[in-house]
């Protein structure tokens, strides 16, 4: 730890050493270090390579704004790319790999790009890789993908756990610096429910270091907050995004700093706040001088942070360059810790306020009206050339191993801006700050976000503290609390001289220098790139951003944004506020995918809906099919069987003996009331008001545009009550559809609906032996006379209360039995027991589909796709001619719907008995408008029929029903030409004799 200072470091615990590995090489640090401070202590100056030119890059910042020090952390199931070393707390055994280098960090072949820099200008990719066209896909893109990009995506599933948490507060304060602490205290004193969050592990921001008595002031504030039961403070929790209606996402990192600990790694807080105070501080800006991207060149306040917080020297000889007073604090801190400061290079002719004298008194040379013309060095800065800030030659060269730069401060306005808060430009500070007249507003038009402290453009500590208290108080008052006046902690803050904006250093730098001035370190965007973009006509800051990629890296331009648009505005000869900023979007810094997913992964990725017989199916060889969120048995596999063999066995057995189907997933909706009949007559194409109690009818439902939407059997339970069955996927949708019409259109009709899908298990008992099985259970007369086709009856079967519907979708003798769900498995097992010697077997959805298709019954979703009307499917018989109206009736009378050219349903039978490909198109003579072969029909469902031992299909064909016997050609995607004859869609038992026994 050659750069570790002997004493100091308020965050590090020297009694707790920590070992880490960077690119496999062991390093040492202490508890409280960040990976960045430990690397700096180790003397590691190159920590990564830049994105485009692969230039060596060092640590620039000490916090969330860091653009360079990104590493891949961990390995395997714990690997995570692009982690900022400056915010990664050191733990024992930490393993980090640098990124974007090949083959190694020291020797990077991609660095040749840097030599070719003048041939890689802004928009290089757009300009270069356009022609010849095929080269993009086959040559350019694969190469660029190999060399570009930062971290590598993880290859193993994330081994950690994540969770969400919903919190509701009156006042959420984001940022635990002096302004945030004061805001929380003021809001807390008013009695508001307050949540104060801080993204780092420490409270107070820079106040404990920069302000005399600051540490004590912060400690006292924290003690006060601790004593308030209505205030909660949490560290390592970042305000990630502010959204409409006071919704805020916060990202809590629970175990990143102690991965050995049990429990979730991250927690995503979903907060509803009546008021939000953003006390998010400010970020220092780099200065644009040639070579400002060399390792060793860093932000001035960051240099101070490393010394004060971690006892790490950024260098042995550190030149400070600035346009404002704050960097003088860095110079004084460095000097106080025995680090040589050859000069403070101040762009201002007048220099700083009282800090100037303090620096001189400490023996620091201050060069006024001066600039760094160039930083020199290869893998680390080794000297800087100094000269006048405008118009002048290089006057001297100062040897150094680090540069601390300060180009002024930009308030962190991200959270303010996420939900529409506007910004003003301050000429005095050369930064954007929140416009109090145009805040983010809630549903009532009132502000729900307030900025406080330096985030509000209030740059000096004592004023920031007062502003924090005032904003906290105002937020509490707005949230409905009687907020007492709070006097902020008094802080001694020296006067400061005005800063001077310096966007280029020197201000008259020639192109040779401008090509070496970096704006965006991570994406390698330079002053010359933005100027070129402006010359090429990119006047909008949003366009310039995308053309140059300025601010588009993982740091989202935290350091580069203002510097870049200042250069753009100069090039366009416009005022900075007229050029404006790009849009600030959440999250503030990247948050983990795991945190976003929360519990939605693995077994709980999605709800899996289970019928009462689900476990039985699983135990009896179910080969599952997802149907909505349900899993239904597709077939029940027996040893040695293929799926197709199992399906064929189930179909044959059901047709010849007895099959059981778990139909519990079908939707079941009760509809009751004096207007229920009238309502169903409107909802369905059929007439249900005329249906007799005790009877069932198959019904069709259409959208108001006439398209077939759902089908199912409706039973009339009593004079004013009907039970509507829907498709499995349609239950919730159709219930919502009913309520939509009842609540929004026919609100004066007296109808109640109730979705009772889950109340019942439903078992279809199908096949020639079905009646025998039910008679063996006993309790209900299920004879043809007592329970005829399309009738229903209630009673008990084998002691279980049931409702039995005599309906059939298979063409066989069939009963569907509704049973209270808790007893469904009992009945299922009883049926298996009594049916054992009758050859009972359960069958799955594929057998169901095949038997339906053999009978020519349509399936919603197969024969329909949202463009098909019942008339296309030959279902005119299910459309009541006597009714004045039903949903879809008017639409079905439109010319396009009555067009005789509409494709209509037919059966299709392959000439050679093979199975037609599902979805295949039939082609006719001639070409269509696009010069393609004209299509005259398509296959809507296609199966191998075990009953008929050949392929059967249904399809929609132009003039289909008029072309019986014609053979159509269906080119398959496999190159085969399939030929099928148009036949009646009812392949099996067209007389319906088998179901009516």
């Amino acid at each position: 730890m050659k750069h570790r200072l002997k004493t100091g470091g308020r965050f590090v615990d020297r009694s707790a050493p920590r070992t880490f590995f960077f690119n496999g090489i062991k390093g040492k640090g202490y508890r409280g270090d960040t990976l960045a401070s430990a690397l700096m202590a180790k003397g590691q100056s190159v920590v990564g390579r830049s994105f485009k030119y692969h230039r060596p890059r060092g640590i620039v910042a000490a916090g969330a704004e860091e653009p360079n020090a990104l590493v891949g952390l961990g390995a395997g199931a714990g690997h995570e790319p692009n982690q900022r070393a400056t915010t990664t707390e050191l733990y024992d055994g930490l393993r980090a790999e640098s990124q974007n280098h090949w083959p190694s960090l020291k020797t990077d072949i991609g660095a040749v790009n840097g030599l070719l820099a003048r041939f890689l200008p802004a928009g290089f990719y757009y300009k270069t890789f356009i022609h010849p066209r095929p080269f993009w896909k086959h040559v350019f893109e694969p190469f660029i993908r190999q060399t570009a990009g930062l971290g590598k995506a993880p290859t193993a599933a994330d081994a950690d756990r994540y969770e969400h948490f919903y919190a509701f507060v009156d006042v959420l304060v984001v940022g635990g610096g002096i302004a945030g602490l004061e805001a929380a205290r003021a809001a807390g004193a008013a009695g508001a429910r307050v949540l104060l969050v801080e993204q780092t592990a420490q409270w107070g921001g820079r106040t404990p270091v920069d302000i005399a008595g600051g540490a004590e002031a912060v400690a006292a504030l924290l003690a006060e907050l601790d004593a308030m039961p209505n205030v909660t403070q949490r560290t390592r929790m970042m305000g990630a995004g502010v959204y409409d209606h006071g919704f805020v996402l916060c990202y809590e990192q629970l175990t990143d700093h102690r991965p050995e600990a049990a429990g979730p790694r991250h927690r995503l807080w979903k907060i509803r706040a009546k008021q939000v105070v953003t006390a998010t501080g400010a970020i220092e800006r780099p200065l644009s001088f040639a070579g400002n991207d060399l390792p060793g060149v860093m932000l001035a306040a960051a240099a101070r942070d490393y010394v004060e917080n971690f006892a790490v020297a950024p260098g042995r000889r550190v030149v400070v360059v600035t346009n404002n007073d704050d960097a003088y604090r860095t110079a004084l801190t460095l000097r106080a810790h025995g680090i040589d400061v050859p000069a403070v290079v101040d762009a201002r002719q007048g220099g700083a306020g009282p800090l100037l004298e303090e620096a001189r008194a400490a023996g620091i040379r201050v060069q006024l009206g001066a600039a760094i013309h160039k930083a020199k060095g290869r893998t680390r800065v080794d000297a800087v050339e100094i000269g006048a800030v405008t118009g002048g030659e290089v006057s001297e060269t100062l040897a150094c191993d680090a540069v601390a730069m300060s180009g002024g401060w930009s308030p962190v306005v991200h959270l303010w801006s996420h939900c529409g808060g506007k910004l003003l430009w301050s000429d005095a500070h050369a930064h954007f700050y929140p416009d109090p007249a145009l805040p983010p507003t809630g549903r009532d038009g009132a502000a729900f976000v307030r900025a406080a402290g330096t985030a509000n453009g209030v740059m000096r500590a004592h004023e920031a503290a007062s502003d924090g208290a005032a904003q906290g108080q105002a937020a509490a008052a707005e949230a409905g609390f009687d907020a007492p006046e709070i006097v902020a902690t008094p802080l001694e803050t020296p006067d400061e001289a005005p800063m001077r904006p310096v966007w280029l250093m020197p201000e008259d730098a020639d192109i040779g220098l401008r090509e070496k001035m970096w704006l965006d370190f991570q994406n390698d965007v330079k002053v010359s790139d933005v100027q070129l973009a402006a010359r090429e006509g990119f006047e909008s800051v949003e366009h310039t951003k995308r053309y140059t990629t300025l601010g588009m890296a993982t740091d989202q331009g935290k350091l580069s944004n203002i510097n870049g648009l200042a250069i753009l505005s100069q090039a366009l000869n416009e005022e900075i506020p007229r050029v404006g900023t790009t849009t600030f979007r959440p999250p503030y810094t990247p948050i983990s995918m795991g945190a976003i997913a929360g519990e939605a992964r693995g077994e709980t990725f999605q709800p899996l809906r289970c019928t009462p017989m689900h476990a039985w199916h699983a135990a009896h060889g179910a080969h599952w099919e997802p149907v909505g969120q349900w899993r239904r048995p597709y077939a029940y596999m027996r040893a040695g069987e293929s799926v197709a063999q199992a399906v064929a066995r189930e179909v044959k057995n059901t047709r010849q003996a007895l099959g059981l189907l778990d139909a519990s997933t079908l939707g079941k909706i009760l509809v009751k009331g004096p207007d229920a009949g009238r309502f169903l007559d409107m909802l369905y194409t059929n007439s249900f008001s005329k249906l007799k109690v005790g009877r069932c009818r198959y019904g069709l439902m259409c959208s108001e545009n006439g398209f077939l939407s759902d089908d199912g059997v409706v039973a009339r339970l009593s004079d004013d009550t009907w039970l509507c069955h829907t498709t499995t996927g349609g239950a919730d949708r159709i219930h919502a559809w009913m309520e939509d019409w009842l609540q929004c259109e026919w609100w004066d009709w007296q109808v109640h609906t109730l979705n009772v899908t889950e109340q019942y298990g439903q078992i279809a008992v199908v096949g020639p032996q079905a009646r025998v099985a039910l008679e063996r259970l006993g309790g209900i007369d299920v004879s043809k006379a007592a329970l005829p086709f399309m009738g229903w009856v209630e009673g008990t079967l084998g002691g279980v209360p049931v409702r039995v519907y005599r309906i059939s979708f298979s063409g066989e003798l069939s009963y569907e039995i509704a049973v209270p769900a808790h007893r469904a498995l009992e009945l299922w097992e009883a049926l298996l027991a009594v049916g054992a010697d009758l050859g009972v077997m359960p069958y799955g959805t594929e057998a169901l589909h095949i038997m339906r298709a053999e009978k020519g019954f349509i399936m919603i979703g197969d024969e329909t796709d949202g463009t098909v009307i019942p008339q296309d499917l030959g279902l005119d018989w299910a459309i009541s001619k006597k009714k004045d109206d039903y949903l879809g009736k008017r639409a079905q009378q439109r010319p396009h719907m009555r067009d005789p050219e509409r494709w209509k349903l037919v059966g299709l039978q392959t000439v050679d008995g093979t199975v037609l490909p599902d979805g295949a198109y039939a082609v006719g003579e001639g070409e269509n408008a696009l010069g393609q072969r004209r299509m005259i029909g398509r296959v809507t469902s296609s199966y191998h029929s075990p009953t008929l031992a050949r392929g059967i299909a249904m399809g929609l064909v132009e003039h289909g029903p008029e072309r019986m016997g014609e053979v159509l050609e269906f080119p398959g995607t496999d190159g085969t030409l399939y030929r099928a004859r148009i036949v009646d869609p009812v392949f099996y038992d067209p007389e319906g004799a088998k179901q009516d026994v």
Partner: protein, 190 residues
Amino acid sequence: MSDARVLKEAECVGAATVREVEAPGMITVKAELASAALAECLRAATGAAVPQTRRIVRERDARVAWMAPDELLLLVPRADVAASLATLTDGLAGEHALVADVSDMRAVFRIEAGRAARETLAKLCPVDLAPGVFAAGEIRRTRLAQVPAAFWIEENGFTLVCFRSVARYAFDVLKGAAAADARVGYFREV
């Protein structure tokens, strides 16, 4: 009589205890909630008055929950379902009302252990569960991660109902949220 639990043995002990309990009998009533006939037959069936919006009332071993502006859910001993159904059906005979036995439609869970119970639910439900905000007597229909659910406070814990088909999912997400190593420490009181 069969076991009125969906998952049978489902219990986990973490920061909070989560377990499936036998579902009581349940009856849905859809009616005009201000109706005098409803008030009368509801009192006859359960002893309880019609609950106010988002309230659940308890009378002896019956509970009545407000579910929607025109809907109540009665929770009664399974043995009383038939009698209660009859009382309600008869009492509402002259009204536009729907009374249905939905005793088999839902799974019922208990989540117990003070603050951790509140935090368990607050990880999955977008509801303000702060002590003093969500209190006994309130029922909240909401979402539990990705499925509909409803819960209320009783006997030092929460009772939660969800549809029976998603009982496994509900138990699994509750179990994850209740893990002993995942305490939030946000709520200061029970």
